[in-house]
């Protein structure tokens, strides 16, 4: 039965059309020189625009951690002649979705509008980017929200464990600092800081735009100029060095009175632009990637019922790369879970995947690729990722071939290069039994 199904799968895959056949990506360049990648889709009167400035929270000056994050909470809280309630009122009355967010390397905006309100929506985006008011009331309000969030996070095991891992892997680098800052740094941020941030960081040379939906290239070209041409041509120079995450390894325990320990672990990964990236991506899928068939899923969850969730993923940042994993299990079984994870980590490094595992992973990863095109927002998000990572406008057509090209020799070589159980830094938050901390927990400022 099982073999038969597998056979059917393989047979059908060969017959399947190119996954991205239905998606045509256009490069739109406005008269003013603003570029956007566009997927036209007129089936619903909806437009989804994603935009990103390269450069995120990792650029926050020392002592001003959380600056990018505070800006992302404030530029849609009043701009131009519209105060906060007026600006938000326009968005709400017209059912326009506009929000901003910050990552370590990016500052992003997400706009969703009905076609009938398109020009207003783009105008509100322009105002937010160019004419944010930073009035006293919204600053106090949004700051209080962030501070309350930091206070909550200070007892949230999932947040504590992440922040501790980042701090251990990047003790000296900006990647070790929390995106949302600390109580002290956020309290100290001023209007001057906010204005300086938007003046320095929002610029055309670091701008990436992806648009999906009910809009033509011609209309988009005009709106790109109206929306983005007012930004400075270039962003201020940045000072962020490449770095290598700490390979010291070891176990850190953050004592918390919880019934279940929350665990993450990680070490250096593989950069997005590395020729081995796709191979690493496939190998990671086999070890602990999504789905119900990874080695860790089978060993930790299926066979022993140790956890509801166990996973690994690659996290390539602009200036460093990580491979990270996690598990959550009752305190009594943390030790057993960690032993199993380390053993699987070693086994993958030493032997790599089997031929069958590699074949199955490639079938899944290529076959599931078109499933990403399930909503406007997901597609516009992909258009951003493709540009940020310099993947090329034909990436959707090439991507599956990159996966297909991974050989067993590649997979074994890259597994050996990627995984090193001795370099894993393991963070446990809880009251784990039988786990000895080998390094002290760093102090986290909340």
């Amino acid at each position: 039965m099982m073999l038969r199904s597998a056979f059917i799968a393989l047979f059908l895959l060969l017959a399947a059309a190119s996954p991205a056949a239905a998606i045509e990506v256009q490069r739109v360049v406005s008269p003013g020189g603003i570029e956007a990648w566009l997927v036209e889709d007129h089936s619903n009167p909806i437009i989804s625009l994603d935009m990103t400035f390269r450069g995120g929270a990792a650029l926050d000056p020392v002592g001003k951690e959380g600056l990018a994050n505070l800006v992302s909470g404030l530029i849609d809280e009043g701009a131009g002649d519209l105060d906060s309630q007026a600006f938000q009122g326009r968005l709400q009355d017209l059912s326009i979705g506009l929000s901003f967010s910050t990552g370590l390397d990016t500052f992003s905006g997400d706009l969703k509008t009905l076609t009938e309100n398109r020009d207003t929506a783009f105008e509100l985006l322009r105002l937010a980017l160019n004419e944010a008011r930073f009035d006293e009331e919204p600053i106090a309000r949004i700051r209080s929200q962030i501070l309350a969030g930091l206070a909550r996070d200070s007892e949230n095991p999932r947040v504590i464990v992440r922040r501790t891992l980042n701090k251990m892997l990047f003790p000296e680098h900006a990647y070790g600092r929390p995106v949302s800052g600390t109580t002290e740094s956020v309290t100290g941020l001023t209007v001057k800081d906010l204005r300086r941030f938007t003046a320095e960081r929002f610029a055309r040379d670091v701008l990436v735009v992806g648009v999906v939906g009910d809009i033509t290239a011609k209309d988009l070209a005009r709106l790109l100029d109206e929306t983005f041409l007012g930004l400075p041509a270039t962003a201020a120079p940045v000072d962020l060095t490449d770095t290598t995450p700490s390979g010291k390894g070891g176990v850190v325990v953050v004592e918390k009175d919880l019934p279940q320990s929350v665990v993450v672990f990680g070490h250096e990964g593989i950069e997005r632009a590395d020729p081995d990236y796709y191979t690493a991506y496939v190998v990671n899928y086999i070890l602990g990637g999504g789905g119900f068939s990874s080695r860790l899923y089978k060993e930790i969850r299926e066979k022993r019922g140790l956890a509801y969730s166990v996973y690994t993923y690659l996290n390539p940042l602009d200036r460093a790369a990580l491979v990270v994993g996690g598990v959550a299990t009752q305190n009594e079984r943390v030790s057993e879970s960690l032993d199993l994870i380390r053993a699987e980590w070693r086994r993958m490094a030493e032997d790599g995947p089997s031929e069958e595992e590699l074949r199955d992973a490639k079938i899944y990863l290529t076959g599931s690729f078109p499933l990403r095109f399930s909503s406007s927002g997901r597609i516009s998000g992909m258009l951003i990722g493709m540009q940020l990572n310099y993947l090329g406008i034909d990436y959707l057509d090439r991507r599956n071939a990159l996966i297909e090209a991974v050989t067993l020799d590649d997979a074994r070589r890259v597994a050996r290069r990627l995984y090193d159980a001795d370099k894993l830094t393991v963070i446990v938050v809880g009251r784990p039994e039988g786990v000895t901390a080998t390094r002290p927990a760093p102090e986290l400022k909340s």
Partner: protein, 458 residues
Amino acid sequence: MHRRLGFARAVSRAGLVLAAAAFMSLWAAGASRVEARVFDPETFTLDNGLQVVVVTNRRAPIVTHMLWYKVGAADEAAGESGNAHFLEHLMFKGTDTLGPGEFSRIIALNGGQENAFTSYDYTGYYQTVARDRLEIVMKHEADRMTHLRLTDEVVLPEREVILEERRSRIDNDPGPQLREMMQATLYLNHPYRIPIIGWEHEIDELNTETVLAFYRRWYAPNNAVLIVAGDVTAAELRPLAETYYGKIPTRPVPERKRAAEPRQHAPRIVTLRSPRVRQPSVSIAYLAPSYNSEGSEHAYALQVLGEILGGGTTSRLYRSLVVEQALATGAGSSYSSSAYDLSSFDFHASPRPGIELEPVEAALREQIEDVRKDGVTEDEVAAAKRRLRASAVYARDSLRTAPNVFGRALTTGSTVEDVESWPDRIAAVTAEQVNAAARAVLLENRSVTGRLLPEPAD
């Protein structure tokens, strides 16, 4: 991440498409003329009673296939809480012809993504695949409707998994612990008082027999709804549905009769103090009608009321508590009309750092009392209706929204026509109806207040 649990009706917590969340919590029941359409589905019913809904969406050559059973945690036998959810997990553990985990392996080998969820009123299984793999998915989903095979060898480790799931979702976090206590207090008699995932001591006792008994009692084609959305039409789907699902015989399924709520005489207050709480918060839940319960005539008006009170940053609650009075970091409300029995209308607020919970709770109550006494304005109703109707346009965008909306509707007593008429019915709501709904529902004696507080310093 996997096999998630669709918690309660009010909390659309499953990651099942965020854009959809607003709309999903909204659509409807009742009867009136139809103008605006939402999804334009095609429907048919197989001879064995399986209802089929097809929503064509040709954005990409993919389909989402969902099978919803009209059974959930509220249908469990006394003392067996968590059984519906446990069965959901075990549905992946093999059939007469497939070994444990093989279902998932086949889906993965066809480039598919899959998961499942359990709520009070329904249990759902779904896969998203390239359109040419639909047949494989249907074959195996139909197979496990009747041919589930379980042994203690796979059941017992999975029980450990759901205990870990319970720890992750609830026991590790005081917020969900308080919500569990509030739910158990809001409903005095109805099984909605029992957590979907189950009480820990009862999960401990679940086993192969309890699960198989539940499966045999409730899983049948005449107690399920099949929804397929994406690059497919009813004409294309029908022969496949006949081939795979059509051959499964109809079986008698019990009527869903849950214990009803008695008259409630007093407001209740539940307070959880914990050193793990760093930011206090308050929530107030009122029993409220659903589309399918007594008082359902208020269901549409309550959605408009919810939008006026708690719909975003210009809503009454946010504007008053967060912006004007500068007391809170957040304030809002939530209400979902889709439940087989009663629903609830919920409010919440959290103080700004340095402000006590008490004045925030007082300000929240003042707003509730204000709307109950003085009602809403025509302008507020018009604006709220405009926003709600726009959400129906956004709902068409994502592949997964339509199957989620229809699944919830058809397993909780509503019809396809109800979903499609939702924009018209919202449009027909008047300010008088909103005010009548507020007066009917915001009754102190039918409410529970939950306070989440830090442990006081010694």
